[in-house]
Symmetry: none
Subunit: 401 residues, 2 copies
């Protein structure tokens, strides 16, 4: 019996409000033994006050030692076991440009490449052409028609694009056509399952037309297909938790991940202030709000400890606006750690703060990794955050008599 089997069965409606504030890549590392992390260094009076009337813990995004991407990181926070619900790269790339992927869509990452006169790959990234060259090429490719399916081609960045085939009976189990080498021709698409034969046929037709369309566009005179995937069937938030959920996220990837689990994606504007205004405006329309803040991750990826500290303080500054709405449960956490010391996502457990009247307060005085380690939530798999949120909101019945 899975967590969702339980929450489906036990869910209870009430007037509670739950806010999940995700500071992307929140967890950090001290630069030296004995030092403080970014979060511990930041002046966060509002988060600290919240910690005093909440309970802290450390969430493990996937499993100990496993570093998640944004997809698994967020699915875990949303209560979807990231090992059960795996999102293909093509789908993530589509979500990342706000493409609304449906259940009949096969999404594919495309790379423009250069072919030599013999048809062998001379550059797998087509000389890293700029947006000014690639975008018009994508518009040309978007004109391709294939009987029985719809074809969409969208530019992403530089030599990267997204291709979507939409139609009945298209499977997503098709190998990449990128041989990961130069001096050889691109591979033909090959189906790993019988259910994906039709996708292979569509891909062949698409590639044949693309080859013709691009033949005079050297260095981008062809493209390769990678990460071919379908959106997995994912039960909605409403179904598994009984909550009407809204996402207030600025970046397309996170809007896409929220859409994937059936949240309504609201116009979030561009800034935290915009997001807070939207939250207030939508307050009465939803039970659950996912708010995403990107810059704790991007500064960590930049390896900029000080900038991450500043961004954390910026986030702290928005807390009073959330608290003023008096949510029943307010959670502040991250989808993973992004220590600026490592300049990348990491596996380190993520500081988590859950504030609610039903908390077993744990004597925490501030929000940071050390206090989270001693907090009342202990170390827990991220997929249990949602049942904890629902429990503290009075939204779960007793299991068994």
């Amino acid at each position: 019996m899975s967590v969702h089997d339980l929450t489906r069965k036990l869910q209870r409606k009430n007037d509670s409000k739950i806010v999940l504030l995700v500071a992307d890549g929140l967890g950090g590392l001290p630069l030296q033994p004995g030092g403080l992390t970014e979060l511990e260094t930041a002046q966060t009076p509002n988060l600290d006050a919240l910690a005093q009337r909440g309970t802290l813990g450390l969430s493990v995004p996937v499993l100990p030692g496993i570093t998640p991407g944004s997809g698994p990181g967020h699915l875990g926070l949303f209560g979807y076991d990231p090992l059960e619900y795996q999102i293909g790269r093509g789908v993530l790339e589509g979500l990342g440009i706000d493409f609304d992927l449906g259940p009949n869509d096969v999404a594919i990452r495309g790379n423009f490449c250069s072919l030599d006169a013999a048809g062998n790959i001379s550059d797998r990234r087509a000389g890293r052409i700029g947006n000014d060259i690639a975008a018009p090429l994508c518009e040309k490719l978007d004109q391709i028609t294939i009987p029985g399916v719809e074809v969409f081609v969208r530019h992403v960045k530089e030599y990267r694009l997204v291709v979507v085939f939409r139609g009945e009976g298209l499977g997503g189990d098709v190998d990449d056509t990128d041989p990961q080498a130069t001096g050889v021709p691109p591979l033909d698409p090959v189906a790993r399952t019988a259910a994906s034969e039709k996708t292979v046929e569509v891909a062949r037709q698409f590639l044949a037309q693309a080859r013709e369309i691009l033949k005079n566009d050297h260095p981008a005179n062809f493209l390769m297909l990678r990460g071919i995937a379908k959106r997995p069937p994912i039960p909605t938030f409403e179904e598994v938790y009984g909550t009407r959920a809204a996402a207030i996220a600025v970046y397309p990837m996170y809007r896409g991940l929220a859409r994937l689990v059936g949240m309504d994606v609201l116009d979030a504007g561009q800034t935290l202030d915009d997001q807070m205004a939207r939250l207030k405006q939508a307050w009465s329309d939803y039970d659950f709000f996912f708010i995403h803040f990107k810059y704790t991750d991007s500064t960590g990826e930049d390896g900029n400890f000080e900038a991450k500290v500043k961004r954390t303080e910026e986030l702290d500054g928005c807390l009073p606006k959330i608290v003023a709405l008096n949510p029943t449960v307010l959670i502040v956490t991250g989808d993973h750690s992004t220590p600026s010391k490592l300049r990348s996502h990491s596996w380190h457990p993520v500081p988590t703060l859950l504030a609610a009247d039903a908390c077993r307060f744990d004597g925490s005085t501030s929000f940071g990794e050390a206090q989270c380690r001693a907090g009342g939530l202990g170390q827990f798999e991220a997929k249990y955050l949602m049942p904890l949120a629902l429990a503290h909101a009075g939204r779960l019945e007793k299991f068994g008599a």
Copy 2:
């Protein structure tokens, strides 16, 4: 490989004695941030002394955020995964009146109801008739005979009763006959599986006779069947742990749960003193003793913080009598939390104390939620308590060479 696969394989006999003292609903909450829980408020010199020569932890009854009923709560403590062994409502109701359910029994919760002249339900609880009216009606229904099966009808309280069909080939997968509405007739029993068709036939005959017997007993002129269930096949304590186990519990529900896992159920009297006397008397006859104390839960359900504190102190007072018997392992825990602040069972992890010479002592000085949070057992799923108990009693061999 499940925990029971391991304990079956690794179990070792010796002369050790294990006592599991369950204070029902033991875990609590502080009323205010920075405050103490019921257990932390109580003066518990004996539990505190035990904490100093033991190790503490917090047990998670089912999963984070999931609030258990008494059934799953106790099964977890007994080492039976509460998600694997689910006990139907009818079975729990039967256990709750000390009915000794066997493997061929289908147990059912019955409700007396009122039917109008057209046969539609006018009151689903028959005007909440008193025991004085309902008990004799149950005796009349207990006279019903159906060829090939035994029929038992027992009064529970007010309009509630238990019906048991005993016989070969009776499945427990039958829908309720309560439509959860008035102005419509009761539903016919319907089998969800072919293996339960015979049960449906028996239920139909039972209901037809009951309708005739009760026809002049308005407002209780019929009854509805709910929570139809069989006792799941559960391996015995003796089989999975190799221990001779005894239960010393005053309330029928807990005696029933102990019987379900094959414990001998001893006469526990009415008070803690009675229970302590019985423990001493039975000391040489068993390896494992489950002692149940109800009032930490009932006072929590009443929302009476002070009364829960007092009951906790009462429990503390009996500790010297257990310690005097010199058990190899003495565990004090609860089946779940029942914070008086919430007036109900809750999901919060349960304070757990395990005292044994083989403990890794953890520097604890008193027994309470805060010290348990920092204790040597960490936060662990309740189903691991039994392997921990057996290990500390020297009752488990090494796994692998």
